[in-house]
Protein backbone atom coordinates (compact mmCIF):
# COMPACT_ATOMS: atom_id res chain seq x y z
CA UNK A 1 0.00 0.00 0.00
CA UNK A 2 1.28 3.50 -0.86
CA UNK A 3 2.05 5.30 2.41
CA UNK A 4 0.10 8.44 3.21
CA UNK A 5 3.04 9.91 5.12
CA UNK A 6 6.65 9.01 4.43
CA UNK A 7 9.81 10.38 6.06
CA UNK A 8 13.06 9.47 4.31
CA UNK A 9 16.22 10.21 6.33
CA UNK A 10 14.75 13.46 7.68
CA UNK A 11 16.69 15.78 9.96
CA UNK A 12 15.69 19.15 11.30
CA UNK A 13 18.24 21.36 12.99
CA UNK A 14 17.49 24.58 14.90
CA UNK A 15 20.83 26.37 15.25
CA UNK A 16 22.93 23.88 17.24
CA UNK A 17 19.94 21.79 18.35
CA UNK A 18 19.02 18.68 16.40
CA UNK A 19 15.24 18.34 16.82
CA UNK A 20 14.80 15.46 14.37
CA UNK A 21 17.73 13.24 13.47
CA UNK A 22 17.83 11.05 10.36
CA UNK A 23 14.29 9.83 10.84
CA UNK A 24 12.49 7.47 8.47
CA UNK A 25 8.94 6.22 8.91
CA UNK A 26 5.73 5.47 7.03
CA UNK A 27 2.10 5.93 7.99
CA UNK A 28 -0.59 4.19 5.95
CA UNK A 29 -3.97 5.65 5.00
CA UNK A 30 -6.54 5.19 7.77
CA UNK A 31 -3.89 4.22 10.30
CA UNK A 32 -3.84 5.70 13.82
CA UNK A 33 -0.52 6.10 15.60
CA UNK A 34 0.77 7.79 18.73
CA UNK A 35 4.03 9.71 18.88
CA UNK A 36 5.49 9.41 22.37
CA UNK A 37 8.67 10.52 24.03
CA UNK A 38 9.97 13.00 26.57
CA UNK A 39 9.81 16.76 26.04
CA UNK A 40 12.27 17.80 23.32
CA UNK A 41 12.19 14.35 21.72
CA UNK A 42 11.03 15.86 18.42
CA UNK A 43 7.32 14.97 18.45
CA UNK A 44 6.03 18.45 17.69
CA UNK A 45 8.75 19.10 15.12
CA UNK A 46 7.78 15.89 13.35
CA UNK A 47 4.17 17.08 13.11
CA UNK A 48 5.30 20.52 11.99
CA UNK A 49 7.36 18.88 9.24
CA UNK A 50 4.26 17.05 8.02
CA UNK A 51 2.28 20.29 7.90
CA UNK A 52 5.29 22.15 6.43
CA UNK A 53 5.32 24.69 9.21
CA UNK A 54 9.04 23.94 9.08
CA UNK A 55 11.20 22.56 6.29
CA UNK A 56 13.50 19.61 6.86
CA UNK A 57 17.21 20.45 6.97
CA UNK A 58 17.89 17.14 5.22
CA UNK A 59 15.81 14.33 3.78
CA UNK A 60 12.37 14.05 2.25
CA UNK A 61 8.86 14.31 3.67
CA UNK A 62 5.99 13.09 1.50
CA UNK A 63 2.34 13.60 2.43
CA UNK A 64 -0.40 12.18 0.21
CA UNK A 65 2.00 12.33 -2.74
CA UNK A 66 3.11 15.91 -2.10
CA UNK A 67 6.83 16.59 -1.52
CA UNK A 68 6.67 18.74 1.66
CA UNK A 69 10.44 19.15 1.68
CA UNK A 70 10.33 20.82 -1.71
CA UNK A 71 6.90 22.42 -1.79
CA UNK A 72 6.84 26.06 -2.91
CA UNK A 73 5.02 28.44 -0.60
CA UNK A 74 2.35 28.97 -3.24
CA UNK A 75 1.34 25.29 -2.91
CA UNK A 76 1.20 25.20 0.88
CA UNK A 77 -2.58 25.63 0.88
CA UNK A 78 -2.86 22.49 -1.25
CA UNK A 79 -0.98 20.52 1.40
CA UNK A 80 -2.83 22.06 4.33
CA UNK A 81 -6.19 21.07 2.85
CA UNK A 82 -5.04 17.45 3.05
CA UNK A 83 -3.94 17.70 6.67
CA UNK A 84 -6.33 18.50 9.51
CA UNK A 85 -4.59 19.93 12.56
CA UNK A 86 -5.56 19.86 16.25
CA UNK A 87 -3.61 21.82 18.85
CA UNK A 88 -3.27 21.55 22.61
CA UNK A 89 -4.61 25.11 22.98
CA UNK A 90 -7.46 24.54 20.49
CA UNK A 91 -6.73 27.72 18.48
CA UNK A 92 -10.38 28.63 18.03
CA UNK A 93 -11.35 32.16 17.04
CA UNK A 94 -13.02 33.61 20.13
CA UNK A 95 -15.32 35.95 18.24
CA UNK A 96 -16.85 33.17 16.15
CA UNK A 97 -19.42 30.64 17.34
CA UNK A 98 -18.64 26.93 17.30
CA UNK A 99 -20.49 26.61 13.99
CA UNK A 100 -18.68 29.61 12.49
CA UNK A 101 -15.30 28.28 13.65
CA UNK A 102 -15.93 24.99 11.86
CA UNK A 103 -17.45 26.61 8.76
CA UNK A 104 -14.51 29.04 8.65
CA UNK A 105 -12.26 26.16 7.54
CA UNK A 106 -14.59 25.50 4.61
CA UNK A 107 -15.14 29.14 3.64
CA UNK A 108 -11.45 29.92 3.39
CA UNK A 109 -10.50 26.80 1.50
CA UNK A 110 -13.25 26.00 -0.96
CA UNK A 111 -15.16 28.69 -2.83
CA UNK A 112 -17.34 26.10 -4.53
CA UNK A 113 -19.19 25.51 -1.27
CA UNK A 114 -22.22 27.71 -0.65
CA UNK A 115 -22.96 29.14 2.81
CA UNK A 116 -25.84 26.72 3.31
CA UNK A 117 -23.71 23.74 2.35
CA UNK A 118 -20.89 24.94 4.63
CA UNK A 119 -23.32 25.30 7.53
CA UNK A 120 -24.83 21.89 6.82
CA UNK A 121 -21.44 20.17 6.70
CA UNK A 122 -20.26 22.03 9.79
CA UNK A 123 -23.36 20.99 11.72
CA UNK A 124 -22.73 17.40 10.64
CA UNK A 125 -19.17 17.65 11.92
CA UNK A 126 -20.35 19.15 15.21
CA UNK A 127 -22.92 16.39 15.53
CA UNK A 128 -20.18 13.82 14.94
CA UNK A 129 -18.21 15.23 17.86
CA UNK A 130 -21.35 15.46 20.03
CA UNK A 131 -21.71 19.23 20.01
CA UNK A 132 -24.67 19.83 17.72
CA UNK A 133 -26.52 21.57 20.55
CA UNK A 134 -23.60 23.95 21.15
CA UNK A 135 -23.34 25.18 17.56
CA UNK A 136 -24.31 28.74 18.52
CA UNK A 137 -22.02 28.90 21.56
CA UNK A 138 -18.83 30.91 21.59
CA UNK A 139 -15.54 29.22 22.61
CA UNK A 140 -15.56 31.13 25.89
CA UNK A 141 -18.86 29.49 26.78
CA UNK A 142 -17.50 25.97 26.24
CA UNK A 143 -15.41 23.70 28.48
CA UNK A 144 -11.88 22.70 27.45
CA UNK A 145 -13.07 19.31 26.24
CA UNK A 146 -15.88 20.89 24.23
CA UNK A 147 -13.47 23.42 22.68
CA UNK A 148 -11.19 20.58 21.67
CA UNK A 149 -14.14 18.80 20.07
CA UNK A 150 -14.92 21.94 18.06
CA UNK A 151 -11.27 22.06 16.99
CA UNK A 152 -11.49 18.42 15.90
CA UNK A 153 -14.70 19.13 14.00
CA UNK A 154 -12.93 22.00 12.24
CA UNK A 155 -9.97 19.76 11.39
CA UNK A 156 -12.10 17.03 9.82
CA UNK A 157 -14.95 19.00 8.26
CA UNK A 158 -13.21 19.08 4.89
CA UNK A 159 -12.53 15.33 5.20
CA UNK A 160 -8.74 15.39 4.91
CA UNK A 161 -6.92 12.08 4.50
CA UNK A 162 -4.69 12.90 7.49
CA UNK A 163 -5.30 14.39 10.92
CA UNK A 164 -2.38 15.43 13.11
CA UNK A 165 -2.89 16.33 16.76
CA UNK A 166 -0.24 17.89 18.96
CA UNK A 167 -0.97 17.08 22.62
CA UNK A 168 -4.72 17.26 22.03
CA UNK A 169 -5.43 16.12 25.59
CA UNK A 170 -2.71 18.15 27.28
CA UNK A 171 -5.15 20.65 28.80
CA UNK A 172 -7.87 18.14 29.66
CA UNK A 173 -8.69 15.88 32.63
CA UNK A 174 -8.21 12.14 32.19
CA UNK A 175 -11.85 11.32 31.53
CA UNK A 176 -12.22 14.03 28.91
CA UNK A 177 -8.84 13.05 27.43
CA UNK A 178 -10.13 9.54 26.98
CA UNK A 179 -13.31 10.81 25.30
CA UNK A 180 -11.25 12.90 22.88
CA UNK A 181 -9.04 9.88 22.12
CA UNK A 182 -12.18 7.85 21.43
CA UNK A 183 -13.30 10.53 19.03
CA UNK A 184 -9.94 10.43 17.20
CA UNK A 185 -10.24 6.64 16.97
CA UNK A 186 -13.70 7.01 15.43
CA UNK A 187 -12.24 9.39 12.86
CA UNK A 188 -9.56 6.83 12.01
CA UNK A 189 -12.25 4.18 11.56
CA UNK A 190 -13.76 6.30 8.79
CA UNK A 191 -10.51 6.20 6.83
CA UNK A 192 -8.62 9.29 8.00
CA UNK A 193 -5.08 8.55 9.18
CA UNK A 194 -4.54 10.04 12.65
CA UNK A 195 -1.17 10.90 14.15
CA UNK A 196 -1.24 12.00 17.79
CA UNK A 197 1.72 13.41 19.74
CA UNK A 198 1.13 12.90 23.43
CA UNK A 199 2.66 12.57 26.89
CA UNK A 200 -0.42 10.79 28.18
CA UNK A 201 0.73 7.15 28.37
CA UNK A 202 -2.54 6.00 29.87
CA UNK A 203 -4.54 6.82 26.77
CA UNK A 204 -1.78 5.33 24.60
CA UNK A 205 -1.96 2.12 26.59
CA UNK A 206 -5.75 1.94 26.43
CA UNK A 207 -6.05 2.83 22.73
CA UNK A 208 -4.21 -0.27 21.46
CA UNK A 209 -2.71 1.53 18.49
CA UNK A 210 0.70 1.79 16.85
CA UNK A 211 3.25 3.67 18.98
CA UNK A 212 6.24 5.55 17.59
CA UNK A 213 8.74 6.36 20.35
CA UNK A 214 11.09 9.27 19.87
CA UNK A 215 14.15 10.24 21.88
CA UNK A 216 16.57 13.03 21.02
CA UNK A 217 14.97 13.38 17.59
CA UNK A 218 15.47 9.72 16.66
CA UNK A 219 12.87 7.01 16.22
CA UNK A 220 13.88 4.54 18.94
CA UNK A 221 10.89 2.22 18.82
CA UNK A 222 8.04 1.50 16.41
CA UNK A 223 5.62 -0.88 18.11
CA UNK A 224 2.62 -2.12 16.12
CA UNK A 225 -0.97 -1.90 17.39
CA UNK A 226 -1.96 -4.40 20.08
CA UNK A 227 1.51 -5.36 21.21
CA UNK A 228 2.34 -1.85 22.20
CA UNK A 229 -0.89 -1.48 24.09
CA UNK A 230 -0.34 -4.63 26.14
CA UNK A 231 3.26 -3.69 26.81
CA UNK A 232 2.48 -0.14 27.89
CA UNK A 233 -0.60 -1.15 29.85
CA UNK A 234 1.51 -3.62 31.78
CA UNK A 235 4.10 -1.01 32.61
CA UNK A 236 1.68 1.81 33.38
Amino acid sequence: MTPLVEFVGVSRVYGQVVAVDDLSLRVSPGEMAFLVGPSGAGKSTLLRLINREVRPSHGEVWVDGLPCHDLPVTRLAELRRRVGVVFQDFKLLPRLTALENVAFALHVTDLRISDDEADERSLDALEAVGLYEKAASYPGELSGGQQQRVAIARAVVSQPPLLIADEPTGNLDQETAWQITGLLEDIAKFGTAVLVATHNMEIVARAQRRVLSLASGRLVDDVPAGRAARMLWATS
Binding site: L76, A77, R80, L93, L111
Partner: protein, 316 residues
Amino acid sequence: MGNLLVGPKPSRWRLYRTVTRNALHYLFGSALRNWFRNLGSTAPALGSMTLLLFLTGLGGMLGLVASNAASIESRSAAVLHVYLKDSATQDDIGALQSRLRSETSVKSVTFVSKDEALARAQHRPGLPELASASEGNPFPASLDVQLASVDKVGAIDALVRNDPIVDQGVGSTSYDPNGYRKLQEILFGLVAGGTALLLLITFIAVTVTANSIKVAIVARADEIGIMQLVGAPRWMVRGPFVIEGALTGMIAGVVAGGLALGLASIAIQAGAATFAQVAPGMTFKVALATALLIVVVGPLLGSASSLTGIRRQLET
Protein backbone atom coordinates in the same frame (compact mmCIF):
# COMPACT_ATOMS: atom_id res chain seq x y z
CA MET B 1 -30.06 21.69 -37.36
CA GLY B 2 -32.62 19.20 -36.24
CA ASN B 3 -30.10 17.32 -34.20
CA LEU B 4 -29.01 20.39 -32.24
CA LEU B 5 -29.81 19.82 -28.61
CA VAL B 6 -30.79 22.78 -26.50
CA GLY B 7 -30.58 22.02 -22.81
CA PRO B 8 -29.70 23.66 -19.53
CA LYS B 9 -26.47 25.63 -19.36
CA PRO B 10 -23.47 23.50 -18.49
CA SER B 11 -22.88 22.91 -14.77
CA ARG B 12 -19.44 24.49 -15.17
CA TRP B 13 -21.16 27.84 -15.69
CA ARG B 14 -23.10 27.40 -12.44
CA LEU B 15 -19.85 26.50 -10.72
CA TYR B 16 -18.15 29.66 -11.98
CA ARG B 17 -21.12 31.70 -10.83
CA THR B 18 -21.06 30.11 -7.39
CA VAL B 19 -17.30 30.57 -7.08
CA THR B 20 -17.52 34.23 -8.15
CA ARG B 21 -20.42 34.92 -5.81
CA ASN B 22 -18.69 33.16 -2.92
CA ALA B 23 -15.39 34.96 -3.63
CA LEU B 24 -17.08 38.36 -3.61
CA HIS B 25 -19.14 37.44 -0.57
CA TYR B 26 -16.05 36.17 1.19
CA LEU B 27 -13.86 39.15 0.32
CA PHE B 28 -16.33 41.98 0.87
CA GLY B 29 -18.75 40.33 3.29
CA SER B 30 -16.10 39.06 5.66
CA ALA B 31 -14.09 42.28 5.31
CA LEU B 32 -17.11 44.32 6.34
CA ARG B 33 -18.04 41.93 9.15
CA ASN B 34 -14.46 41.80 10.44
CA TRP B 35 -14.11 45.56 10.20
CA PHE B 36 -17.01 46.08 12.57
CA ARG B 37 -15.92 43.17 14.78
CA ASN B 38 -12.39 44.55 15.11
CA LEU B 39 -13.31 48.20 15.34
CA GLY B 40 -11.56 48.39 18.69
CA SER B 41 -8.18 47.48 17.22
CA THR B 42 -8.80 49.46 14.02
CA ALA B 43 -9.89 52.67 15.76
CA PRO B 44 -6.36 54.01 16.44
CA ALA B 45 -5.41 53.48 12.79
CA LEU B 46 -8.63 55.14 11.68
CA GLY B 47 -8.06 58.11 13.97
CA SER B 48 -4.43 58.71 13.06
CA MET B 49 -5.15 58.22 9.37
CA THR B 50 -8.01 60.74 9.46
CA LEU B 51 -5.90 63.33 11.26
CA LEU B 52 -2.90 62.90 9.00
CA LEU B 53 -4.90 62.89 5.77
CA PHE B 54 -6.58 66.07 6.99
CA LEU B 55 -3.21 67.67 7.75
CA THR B 56 -1.81 66.53 4.40
CA GLY B 57 -4.82 68.01 2.60
CA LEU B 58 -4.48 71.25 4.53
CA GLY B 59 -0.73 71.29 3.81
CA GLY B 60 -1.46 70.73 0.13
CA MET B 61 -3.91 73.63 0.03
CA LEU B 62 -1.48 75.92 1.85
CA GLY B 63 1.28 74.79 -0.51
CA LEU B 64 -0.88 75.70 -3.49
CA VAL B 65 -1.62 79.10 -2.00
CA ALA B 66 2.07 79.67 -1.30
CA SER B 67 3.00 78.57 -4.79
CA ASN B 68 0.40 80.91 -6.34
CA ALA B 69 1.55 83.78 -4.15
CA ALA B 70 5.15 83.10 -5.14
CA SER B 71 4.18 83.01 -8.79
CA ILE B 72 2.26 86.31 -8.54
CA GLU B 73 5.12 87.96 -6.68
CA SER B 74 7.57 86.65 -9.25
CA ARG B 75 5.43 88.01 -12.10
CA SER B 76 5.12 91.47 -10.50
CA ALA B 77 8.83 91.52 -9.68
CA ALA B 78 9.58 91.03 -13.35
CA VAL B 79 7.96 94.38 -14.18
CA LEU B 80 10.38 97.30 -14.44
CA HIS B 81 8.85 100.78 -14.09
CA VAL B 82 10.89 103.29 -16.09
CA TYR B 83 9.90 106.77 -14.85
CA LEU B 84 9.88 109.52 -17.49
CA LYS B 85 10.62 113.24 -17.28
CA ASP B 86 7.58 115.49 -17.69
CA SER B 87 9.44 117.14 -20.58
CA ALA B 88 9.70 113.92 -22.58
CA THR B 89 8.04 114.20 -25.98
CA GLN B 90 5.88 111.50 -27.57
CA ASP B 91 8.63 110.89 -30.16
CA ASP B 92 11.28 110.34 -27.46
CA ILE B 93 8.95 108.00 -25.59
CA GLY B 94 8.13 106.13 -28.79
CA ALA B 95 11.85 105.73 -29.59
CA LEU B 96 12.57 104.37 -26.09
CA GLN B 97 9.61 102.01 -26.37
CA SER B 98 10.92 100.68 -29.66
CA ARG B 99 14.40 100.22 -28.22
CA LEU B 100 13.00 98.26 -25.29
CA ARG B 101 10.75 96.09 -27.47
CA SER B 102 13.75 95.08 -29.56
CA GLU B 103 15.25 93.35 -26.48
CA THR B 104 14.54 89.60 -26.46
CA SER B 105 14.00 89.51 -22.68
CA VAL B 106 11.21 92.11 -22.90
CA LYS B 107 7.70 90.68 -23.21
CA SER B 108 5.77 93.93 -23.39
CA VAL B 109 6.11 97.68 -22.87
CA THR B 110 3.12 99.69 -21.67
CA PHE B 111 3.01 103.49 -21.44
CA VAL B 112 1.42 104.82 -18.24
CA SER B 113 0.55 108.51 -18.40
CA LYS B 114 0.73 110.91 -15.43
CA ASP B 115 -3.07 110.76 -15.10
CA GLU B 116 -3.06 106.96 -15.04
CA ALA B 117 -0.24 107.02 -12.49
CA LEU B 118 -2.32 109.33 -10.29
CA ALA B 119 -5.35 107.07 -10.65
CA ARG B 120 -3.27 104.04 -9.62
CA ALA B 121 -1.84 105.91 -6.63
CA GLN B 122 -5.36 106.49 -5.29
CA HIS B 123 -5.53 102.76 -4.48
CA ARG B 124 -2.20 102.58 -2.65
CA PRO B 125 -1.94 103.26 1.10
CA GLY B 126 -0.46 106.74 1.90
CA LEU B 127 -0.22 107.94 -1.71
CA PRO B 128 -3.61 109.74 -1.93
CA GLU B 129 -2.49 111.99 0.96
CA LEU B 130 0.76 112.71 -0.89
CA ALA B 131 -1.18 113.61 -4.04
CA SER B 132 -3.54 116.00 -2.21
CA ALA B 133 -0.62 117.68 -0.38
CA SER B 134 1.13 118.47 -3.66
CA GLU B 135 0.35 121.10 -6.15
CA GLY B 136 -0.66 119.39 -9.38
CA ASN B 137 0.14 115.74 -10.16
CA PRO B 138 3.37 114.62 -8.45
CA PHE B 139 3.47 111.19 -10.13
CA PRO B 140 5.60 110.79 -13.27
CA ALA B 141 4.56 109.01 -16.43
CA SER B 142 6.31 105.68 -16.90
CA LEU B 143 6.94 102.76 -19.18
CA ASP B 144 5.97 99.48 -17.51
CA VAL B 145 8.35 96.91 -18.94
CA GLN B 146 7.19 93.27 -18.49
CA LEU B 147 10.23 90.98 -18.59
CA ALA B 148 10.46 87.27 -19.23
CA SER B 149 12.10 86.71 -15.83
CA VAL B 150 13.25 88.54 -12.74
CA ASP B 151 16.91 87.85 -13.63
CA LYS B 152 16.74 90.20 -16.63
CA VAL B 153 15.55 93.26 -14.69
CA GLY B 154 19.10 94.44 -13.86
CA ALA B 155 20.28 94.35 -17.48
CA ILE B 156 17.29 96.31 -18.81
CA ASP B 157 17.62 98.81 -15.95
CA ALA B 158 21.26 99.44 -16.96
CA LEU B 159 20.17 99.91 -20.55
CA VAL B 160 17.64 102.68 -19.86
CA ARG B 161 18.77 104.27 -16.58
CA ASN B 162 20.87 106.99 -18.22
CA ASP B 163 18.55 107.72 -21.10
CA PRO B 164 17.95 111.53 -21.38
CA ILE B 165 14.16 111.20 -21.02
CA VAL B 166 14.35 109.05 -17.89
CA ASP B 167 13.54 110.99 -14.71
CA GLN B 168 16.60 110.70 -12.43
CA GLY B 169 14.83 112.64 -9.70
CA VAL B 170 12.51 109.78 -8.71
CA GLY B 171 15.12 107.06 -8.91
CA SER B 172 14.85 106.60 -12.72
CA THR B 173 13.49 103.03 -12.51
CA SER B 174 11.83 100.77 -9.92
CA TYR B 175 14.81 98.42 -9.98
CA ASP B 176 16.39 97.75 -6.54
CA PRO B 177 19.15 95.10 -6.78
CA ASN B 178 19.04 94.20 -3.07
CA GLY B 179 15.26 94.09 -3.01
CA TYR B 180 15.14 91.73 -6.00
CA ARG B 181 17.77 89.41 -4.52
CA LYS B 182 15.89 89.29 -1.23
CA LEU B 183 12.62 88.64 -3.00
CA GLN B 184 14.17 85.79 -4.97
CA GLU B 185 15.55 84.28 -1.76
CA ILE B 186 12.16 84.56 -0.05
CA LEU B 187 10.37 82.97 -3.00
CA PHE B 188 12.87 80.13 -3.15
CA GLY B 189 12.63 79.59 0.62
CA LEU B 190 8.84 79.63 0.48
CA VAL B 191 8.66 76.99 -2.27
CA ALA B 192 11.44 74.82 -0.83
CA GLY B 193 10.08 75.03 2.73
CA GLY B 194 6.52 74.35 1.64
CA THR B 195 7.57 71.35 -0.44
CA ALA B 196 9.68 69.96 2.42
CA LEU B 197 6.84 70.44 4.91
CA LEU B 198 4.34 68.74 2.64
CA LEU B 199 6.73 65.84 2.04
CA LEU B 200 7.32 65.54 5.78
CA ILE B 201 3.59 65.48 6.57
CA THR B 202 3.05 62.92 3.79
CA PHE B 203 5.90 60.77 5.11
CA ILE B 204 4.52 60.92 8.65
CA ALA B 205 1.01 60.14 7.37
CA VAL B 206 2.20 57.09 5.44
CA THR B 207 4.45 55.82 8.25
CA VAL B 208 1.94 56.29 11.06
CA THR B 209 -0.90 54.83 9.01
CA ALA B 210 1.17 51.83 7.95
CA ASN B 211 2.22 51.18 11.54
CA SER B 212 -1.28 51.61 12.96
CA ILE B 213 -2.70 49.16 10.44
CA LYS B 214 0.22 46.82 11.06
CA VAL B 215 -0.57 46.83 14.78
CA ALA B 216 -4.22 46.06 14.00
CA ILE B 217 -3.10 43.15 11.81
CA VAL B 218 -0.62 41.82 14.38
CA ALA B 219 -3.48 41.77 16.91
CA ARG B 220 -5.13 39.27 14.60
CA ALA B 221 -2.07 37.10 14.00
CA ASP B 222 -3.89 34.05 15.43
CA GLU B 223 -6.66 34.41 12.89
CA ILE B 224 -4.14 34.70 10.06
CA GLY B 225 -2.22 31.71 11.40
CA ILE B 226 -5.37 29.59 11.58
CA MET B 227 -6.37 30.61 8.05
CA GLN B 228 -3.01 29.42 6.78
CA LEU B 229 -3.10 26.21 8.80
CA VAL B 230 -6.51 25.19 7.51
CA GLY B 231 -5.30 25.70 3.94
CA ALA B 232 -6.52 29.12 2.87
CA PRO B 233 -4.72 30.26 -0.29
CA ARG B 234 -2.59 33.35 0.14
CA TRP B 235 -4.96 35.63 -1.75
CA MET B 236 -7.80 34.58 0.55
CA VAL B 237 -5.69 35.43 3.57
CA ARG B 238 -4.66 38.80 2.15
CA GLY B 239 -7.89 39.77 0.42
CA PRO B 240 -10.19 40.64 3.35
CA PHE B 241 -7.39 42.49 5.14
CA VAL B 242 -6.63 44.60 2.08
CA ILE B 243 -10.32 45.43 1.69
CA GLU B 244 -10.58 46.19 5.41
CA GLY B 245 -7.60 48.54 5.02
CA ALA B 246 -9.25 50.19 2.02
CA LEU B 247 -12.46 50.58 4.04
CA THR B 248 -10.56 52.17 6.93
CA GLY B 249 -8.78 54.46 4.47
CA MET B 250 -12.00 55.35 2.71
CA ILE B 251 -13.74 56.34 5.94
CA ALA B 252 -10.66 58.29 7.07
CA GLY B 253 -10.44 59.92 3.63
CA VAL B 254 -14.12 60.93 3.58
CA VAL B 255 -13.93 62.41 7.08
CA ALA B 256 -10.59 64.17 6.45
CA GLY B 257 -11.66 65.40 3.00
CA GLY B 258 -14.95 66.66 4.42
CA LEU B 259 -13.16 68.49 7.23
CA ALA B 260 -10.64 70.07 4.86
CA LEU B 261 -13.37 71.14 2.43
CA GLY B 262 -15.51 72.50 5.27
CA LEU B 263 -12.65 74.47 6.76
CA ALA B 264 -11.58 75.89 3.40
CA SER B 265 -15.18 76.84 2.52
CA ILE B 266 -15.64 78.64 5.83
CA ALA B 267 -12.37 80.53 5.32
CA ILE B 268 -13.28 81.47 1.74
CA GLN B 269 -16.75 82.69 2.72
CA ALA B 270 -15.63 84.51 5.87
CA GLY B 271 -13.01 86.57 4.05
CA ALA B 272 -14.59 86.75 0.62
CA ALA B 273 -13.36 90.32 0.02
CA THR B 274 -9.75 89.90 0.99
CA PHE B 275 -9.30 86.15 0.56
CA ALA B 276 -8.17 86.41 -3.05
CA GLN B 277 -5.26 88.61 -1.93
CA VAL B 278 -4.39 86.66 1.22
CA ALA B 279 -4.72 83.20 -0.36
CA PRO B 280 -4.49 83.62 -4.13
CA GLY B 281 -5.79 80.70 -6.19
CA MET B 282 -7.70 79.21 -3.26
CA THR B 283 -11.21 78.74 -4.55
CA PHE B 284 -14.04 76.37 -3.63
CA LYS B 285 -13.21 74.30 -6.72
CA VAL B 286 -9.60 73.88 -5.56
CA ALA B 287 -10.78 72.92 -2.05
CA LEU B 288 -13.20 70.38 -3.55
CA ALA B 289 -10.48 68.90 -5.77
CA THR B 290 -8.18 68.59 -2.75
CA ALA B 291 -10.94 66.92 -0.72
CA LEU B 292 -11.63 64.45 -3.53
CA LEU B 293 -7.92 63.69 -3.78
CA ILE B 294 -7.86 62.90 -0.05
CA VAL B 295 -10.90 60.61 -0.49
CA VAL B 296 -9.08 58.76 -3.29
CA VAL B 297 -5.72 58.59 -1.50
CA GLY B 298 -7.31 57.25 1.74
CA PRO B 299 -8.35 53.80 0.44
CA LEU B 300 -5.14 53.46 -1.57
CA LEU B 301 -3.04 54.23 1.49
CA GLY B 302 -5.15 51.92 3.68
CA SER B 303 -5.03 48.94 1.35
CA ALA B 304 -1.31 49.41 0.61
CA SER B 305 -0.59 49.57 4.35
CA SER B 306 -2.63 46.41 4.94
CA LEU B 307 -0.84 44.64 2.13
CA THR B 308 2.53 45.53 3.64
CA GLY B 309 1.38 44.67 7.16
CA ILE B 310 0.00 41.26 6.28
CA ARG B 311 2.98 40.31 4.15
CA ARG B 312 4.98 39.90 7.34
CA GLN B 313 2.37 37.55 8.75
CA LEU B 314 2.38 35.26 5.76
CA GLU B 315 4.51 32.14 5.71
CA THR B 316 7.56 32.21 3.50
